[in-house]
């Protein structure tokens, strides 16, 4: 049943009034959104005032999707929600055709939502608004607005709990060492953190054995698992689970435990290369020095020979010749 349709185009009624209206309408017929839950929030009137008070403390989340008749792909919007809040979803549809001929529906996953939405038209744009409250994980999921003309145009709002970003690359550590696995949640404060270890397909909770595991939760938005005295079997997948009021989120960290021999191999390769190069360079230096010495000795020998020949040539030529040889030798 569509409520308040037509070209009223006026301001939407105040939240409290609207909620009261929603409650009244909901009490008139069973709610389709929470059909599985026995503790449906709209059942008993005496709880209404309590609910209203509680709801007014929640923040309001407003989200918008724009569609045109030419939109080829369905438009999706991902919304991250951590705490219970009031939600207002608006879809607007622009078309050149007749607005009255457009059929507007809202669905949660595949179930049709029968009430709680407004339809409004201004000029050539059709607005539809759906308001509800998310209190627990059952209200999370995908909410879609549909505009049926010749083609069906769809806009989807996906509600999810904040995701945990585990590391894409494995954490490396060594046998006998200790390591710290960190799980962080940006801009969110979970209620609780738990650690699991996957052994094949089985998930085993990581207990707090005093000597082995230490869980440190100093800051609310991160958790640290310190594992001491690592063994090779300690390697594998570790999961950190964050519990929110609206659901759970998981992060994955891979731990690899290596033995000390692994980095030693490249290290020894480099050391061998260094020793080899140093030996080659020092040997080259000794070789060139020996060659220089030999050539020096050769030159000295020649000078001695020349002096001897000068001696035999005559005394007059001796003095200037000697001087010339000496200066040449230096």
């Amino acid at each position: 049943m569509r409520a308040l349709s037509g070209r009223l185009g006026a301001r939407a009624p105040t939240p409290r009034l609207l909620l009261l209206l929603q409650c009244l309408l909901a009490t008139a017929r069973p709610s389709s959104a929470d059909d599985s839950a026995p503790d449906s929030t709209f059942t008993s009137p005496p709880v209404r005032e309590e609910m209203l008070e509680r709801y007014s403390n929640f923040s309001l989340e407003s989200h918008n999707i724009s569609l045109t008749e030419h939109s080829s792909m369905p438009v999706e919007k991902n919304i991250t929600l951590e705490r219970p809040s009031n939600v207002k979803l608006t879809c607007q549809f622009t078309t050149s055709g007749d607005l009255n001929a457009v059929n507007v529906t809202w669905k949660k996953e595949d179930e049709l939502l029968e009430n709680n939405y407004l339809v409004n038209a201004t000029g050539s744009t059709l607005y539809t608004q759906y308001r509800f409250t998310i209190i627990n994980s059952k209200q999370m999921g995908s909410y879609s607005c549909f505009f049926q003309e010749e083609k069906e145009q769809k806009g989807t709002f996906n509600f999810k709990v904040p995701e945990l970003h585990g590391k894409n690359k494995p954490l490396i550590s060594y046998v006998g060492d200790s390591t710290v696995l960190t799980c962080k949640c940006q801009n969110c404060v979970p209620l609780n953190w738990t650690w699991y270890r996957s052994n094949g397909s089985l998930q085993v909770p990581v207990g707090v054995q005093m000597n082995k595991y230490v869980i440190n939760d100093t800051y609310a938005n991160e958790t640290k698992l310190k594992i001491k005295q690592l063994l090779e079997e300690d390697g594998g997948s570790y999961w950190c689970r964050a519990l929110f009021q609206l659901g759970e989120s998981e992060g994955h960290i891979e731990l690899v435990v290596l033995s000390y021999l692994v980095p030693l191999k490249p290290f020894f390769a480099i050391v061998a290369e260094v020793v080899l190069l140093v030996a080659i360079i020092l040997l080259c230096e000794k070789y060139t020095q020996k060659n220089k010495k030999h050539s020096d000795e050769g030159r000295e020998f020649e000078q001695i020979e020349q002096l001897k020949s000068d001696d035999s040539n005559g005394i007059e030529n001796n003095v200037p010749r000697l001087r010339k040889n000496e200066s040449a030798g230096q």
Partner: protein, 486 residues
């Protein structure tokens, strides 16, 4: 006939084995400066593993930098007394041991000692002797050789940073430190390349050598009669140190030292504060990182091209002025920085600053060699790099304090800019004063005894044949112009 073993003294080869020395120095710069910069990549790992905050882990980098610069004179002393080869190989072994021991660390304090002090000491033993060695092997092409050798820090950081990141991902920080220790062992290879060379200049200052030797022999005789060998050793040491460090009393060197203090104060904060400043002005994280990369790459280009440029015939005699110009330009860039408030303005700033930063780094050893000559170059470079240590340590925290108190980066950048401009103005002023004094000397020389003039004429004839950047040749040649060599 007795064989006379003569030490072959030569003039600087300017090529040949000199290029192997340049390659060795290039590798030394990679293994010391680039590895120091890459240590900061380990900080995130140390923070998670030791659960300490950023300030505690950042101390490691400061300790390495500080110890490397503070112990630079020790490095030159060791290489002067043992030999350059032994000094650098020893440094390589020490640095490598520090890194290897660091891979077994169980607390941050262990890392301070091993990775900080031991590795820093090892680097100090390698850095200044290697640079001094390049100066010994090159004369005409000194600036180009230094340009290529000093570009190692930029190129090394560029290559080593992703490699270190990969090592950490594959082997975690312990394995990465171990392998890095192996890599740093290549300093021993560089050490082996540093063949000693005796230069002609080593024989031109015989007076002090003679005095020292006679002193030694006198004391030796005394020690024969009394067992005062300790006093003899002390006196000998004093004499040797006096001889090695006599350049400290030169007015030129004192002026250079003061200007280097101011220059080092000015240049270090930019690398720390460019990214935060860019972020505060509205630039995104990736664009700020891009600015830093530009700075690094243009630094390398500045190193090599400025070295090549100042070796051209037109600029050869003006290397000192080029150094002044580079430092002054960097100071001017700093002064303009507070006015640059967007990315399209910051990119040219990065390019200019990076270029001149690379430029003056290349010319520091050249200018030092010009002032002290090649014999004392090793010790002088030790002192010069020692003078870099305290400003490097002190300047970023002072700039940070200024930023916190004034709420903007303007004061900090202006202070650094003025510091660098003062440094270059001081050098320019000193040069001017020296030139004025020389013209006075010329005036006096013209009016003196003509016989003396003839005698000085002979000295000019002898020294003009040498390269003009020998200290004696230059001063004598300019003092008595107008005489042609016979």
């Amino acid at each position: 006939m007795a064989k006379v073993h003569r030490a072959r003294s030569t003039s600087p080869p300017d090529g040949g084995w000199g290029w192997m020395i340049v390659a060795g120095c290039f590798l030394v710069t990679i293994c010391t400066r680039a590895v120091t910069r890459c240590i900061s990549i380990f900080f995130v790992e140390f923070q998670t593993y030791f659960t300490q905050d950023y300030a505690q882990t950042a101390w490691i980098h400061s300790i390495v930098d500080c110890v490397t610069m503070l112990c630079a004179p020790l490095g030159s002393v060791v290489s002067n007394h043992l030999s350059c080869q032994v000094g650098i190989m020893l440094g390589g072994l020490l640095a490598s041991t520090g890194l290897i021991l660091g891979s077994f660390a169980t607390s941050l304090k262990h890392l301070y000692l091993t990775l900080g002090v031991l590795t820093g000491l090892g680097f100090a033993l390698c850095y200044s002797p290697a640079i001094a060695m390049v100066g010994k092997y090159f004369n005409r092409r000194k600036a180009l050789a230094y340009g290529i050798a000093m570009s190692g820090s930029g190129i090394g950081t560029f290559i080593l940073a992703p490699v270190v990141q990969l090592l950490i991902e594959q082997f975690s920080w312990r394995g990465a430190l171990l392998i890095l220790g192996g890599f740093v062992l290549n300093l021993c290879v560089c050490g082996a390349l540093m063949r000693p060379i005796t230069l002609e200049e080593d024989h031109t200052t015989p007076e002090q050598n003679h005095v020292c030797r006679t002193q030694k022999e006198g004391l030796k005789r005394v020690s024969l009669y009394s067992s005062l060998t300790k006093e003899w050793a002390q006196a000998c040491l004093c004499c040797c140190l006096q001889q090695e460090y006599r350049f400290l009393l030169m007015s030129d060197f004192v002026v250079l030292a003061i200007s280097i203090l101011f220059m080092a104060y000015g240049c270090s904060p930019l690398f720390v504060y460019l990214v935060p400043y860019a972020l505060s002005v509205g630039v995104s994280h990736q664009q700020a990182a891009f600015l830093m990369s530009i700075l690094g790459v243009i630094d390398i280009i500045g190193n090599i091209t400025f070295g090549w440029l100042t070796n051209r015939r037109c600029l050869k005699n003006y290397q000192y002025v080029c150094y002044l110009f580079a430092v002054g330009m960097d100071g001017l860039c700093y002064l303009c920085l507070p006015m640059l408030q967007s990315l399209p303005l910051l990119v040219p700033f990065s390019c200019t600053f990076g270029y001149f930063d690379g430029a003056y780094v290349t010319l520091i050893p050249v200018v030092t060699a010009e002032i002290v000559g090649t014999t004392s170059l090793s010790s002088a470079l030790g002192v010069v790099y020692f003078l870099h240590a305290v400003p490097y340590l002190v300047s970023p925290p002072i700039a940070g304090w200024l930023v916190d108190t004034t709420g903007s980066y303007t004061a900090a950048f202006l202070l650094c800019g003025f510091s660098m401009i003062f440094s270059s103005v001081l050098l320019g002023f000193a040069r001017l004063v020296k030139r004025m004094r020389k013209t006075q000397l010329q005036f006096i020389a013209k009016e003196s005894d003509p016989k003396l003039q003839l005698w000085t004429n002979g000295a000019v004839a002898y020294s003009v044949t040498r390269e003009l950047d020998q200290k004696h040749g230059e001063s004598v040649a300019t003092a008595v112009p107008g005489y042609s060599p016979t």
